[in-house]
């Protein structure tokens, strides 16, 4: 009986694993099971820096991701933008990913226009925020921006000359920014912003990256990176801090997309651990069987 079970497990079709993973991810999403996180120091540092900067500070929001990685990075992009909006900073959106432009538009629509587009002091395009759009040339584009923004991009995403926008007054290069906040899905991204803009020009930079990228970016923290927010876990941490500091309206679940994704991630992790344990169980049982029947 045991021997037959072992044979079956040895021949386990990987589609069963795929099915188990689908269930582990799907169930928490359908049942709205979320997960909270205790903030870690690299995330706290970015939050504190945005809090510390005086109102109206210029922040470059580099959204270097696409729909592929939006599941992991879009929640943190929303959280960063919300925090900057609450603190009334001037935002300069840009992307060096050709497919990143809709991500900027989606962030502007979901946060700037929805949360800060009305009221006593609404955010006005060209005065409080600008969408510089897509810059072609990967690391070269970053290098050009750090020497002259107008040379890299003479117009904004709407085709308006940068000199006609009040927000661009006194801005010549990335050097004029108080902080760079980068949501990075890979290459070009956080590493290139550190190497070609932040470190040579001595500008503080914080990066929000995918979980996979974190090992690559950790060597830059804390010397060359002010803060590092990693994956969904980092986004949950940021949302937790935002909810604690500004409970109205950011404690609301509808404003916490990362929290809801955290549940699926947690269950997927549990399944992975289970699979590793199962795999080793099979391996050890096979070895035991071989010692019994050499």
């Amino acid at each position: 009986m045991t021997s037959r079970l072992l044979d079956k497990l040895n021949m386990l079709d990987r589609r069963w694993i795929f099915l188990a993973m689908a269930m582990a991810v799907l169930a928490p999403i359908l049942l709205q099971i979320g997960s909270d996180e205790t903030p870690s120091p690299p995330t706290i540092k970015l939050f504190d820096e945005i809090e510390r900067l005086p109102e109206g500070s210029r922040i470059l929001m580099a959204m270097d991701f696409d729909p592929t990685s939006a599941a992991e990075l879009y929640p943190m992009a929303l959280a960063f933008t919300r925090h900057c909006g609450v603190r009334r900073h001037k935002l300069f959106f840009v992307t060096i990913w050709p497919t990143g432009k809709p991500m900027i538009e989606s962030t502007i629509k979901g946060v700037i226009q929805a949360d800060f587009g009305s009221g006593d002091r609404p955010y006005v395009y060209g005065v409080d925020y600008v969408n510089l759009g897509y810059l072609a040339g990967d690391a070269v584009a970053i290098s050009q921006m750090s020497s002259d923004i107008r040379k890299a991009r003479p117009q904004d995403a709407r085709g308006t000359n940068l000199d006609q926008l009040p927000i661009m007054t006194g801005v010549t290069s990335v050097k004029d920014m108080a902080l760079i906040v980068n949501a990075s899905a890979g290459f070009p991204g956080g590493k290139e912003w550190v190497q070609y803009a932040a470190t040579p020009q001595n500008i503080p930079i914080a990066v929000g990256c995918t979980g996979v990228q974190s090992t690559q970016l950790f060597p830059y923290y804390p010397d060359q990176l002010l803060g590092l927010v990693t994956g969904i876990r980092g986004a949950i941490e940021y949302e937790t801090m935002l909810a604690a500091k500004y409970p109205n309206p950011y404690a609301d679940r509808s404003k916490r997309p990362a929290f809801l994704r955290g549940g699926a991630q947690r269950w997927a992790h549990r399944l992975m651990i289970g699979l590793i344990v199962l795999g080793n169980g099979i391996h050890l049982a096979n070895r035991y069987r071989r010692t019994l029947h050499p």
């Binding site: 990685s69 072609a136 070269v140 085709g159 090992t215 060597p219 992975m272 699979l275 590793i276 199962l278």
Partner: protein, 236 residues
């Protein structure tokens, strides 16, 4: 001659990029070189498009295995290009662009291209990326087996980091005495995870990065000095 000129261009531009890093007056020349790469890469896109069409037309005409996919590829390619170039559904946006109906940007919200991006491209690539979860699970099940000492070390590290990455790590502090007022709870596995990441992983990453940097220097020198021309098809 057909190889000497490309090698000379590669050497010249490569040296220029290095020298310009240290010499500010050469920065404009470096920018010219960078602009030229963008121009050449853009022209190469036309070459890529033409090759894509030829390759798939040939597959369809030869009825090779999977030729149906080639037909779908070509159809999608031409529809997307037509919708983008003709700016289907685009309306003028700002005061400077009112003269023609197609004055607005081609990716404008509500346009045909935007629709393709939002409702076709975006879900398809997100789905592809999500497949990674299945592959990771399958690879973990197969690869993390305690076959020898190195594999055991890898396995234990993976398990610690996996648990340490989720809130389940707090289970490991359940058996510890409650902390004093105002002192954060000590979570053993979180501490070990951070230690692994900040010490072993960072040290290993830095060592690999140093090795890579030196490898890049040596490879670049081989190219700049024209010692290795295999990427251009070797010597004449």
């Amino acid at each position: 001659m057909s190889k000497t000129v490309p090698v000379l261009i590669a050497s010249l531009v490569g040296c220029l990029m290095i020298v310009a890093y240290f010499s500010p007056p050469l920065l404009p020349a470096r920018q010219i070189a960078e602009d030229w790469f963008t121009i050449v890469a853009t022209i190469a896109m036309l070459l890529g498009g033409a090759n894509l069409c030829l390759h798939h037309v040939k597959k369809i005409s030869d009825q090779e295995a999977g030729w149906g996919f080639s037909a779908v590829t070509l159809l999608s390619f031409f529809i997307t290009i037509a919708v983008g170039i003709l700016k289907v559904g685009v309306v003028p946006e700002s005061e400077q662009q009112v003269k023609f109906a197609w004055s607005g940007p081609f990716q404008q919200e509500g346009s045909g291209f935007w629709w393709i991006y939002q409702y076709l491209f975006s879900p398809i690539v997100s789905t592809m990326f999500a497949l990674l979860a299945f592959y990771v699970a399958s690879a973990a099940f197969r690869a993390f087996r305690a076959k020898n000492v190195e594999a055991i070390l890898l396995l234990v590290t993976a398990l610690i980091v996996l648990v340490g990455q989720t809130r389940d790590r707090e289970i490991t502090s359940m058996f510890l005495p409650p902390p004093a007022e105002g002192v954060p709870t000590f979570i053993p596995i979180a501490f070990v995870t951070n230690f692994i990441r900040e010490t072993f992983v960072t040290a290993g990453q830095r060592a690999i990065m140093i090795g890579i940097a030196l490898g890049v220097v040596a490879t670049s020198l081989r190219i700049l000095l024209g010692l290795d021309r295999s990427y251009l098809g070797g010597d004449e």
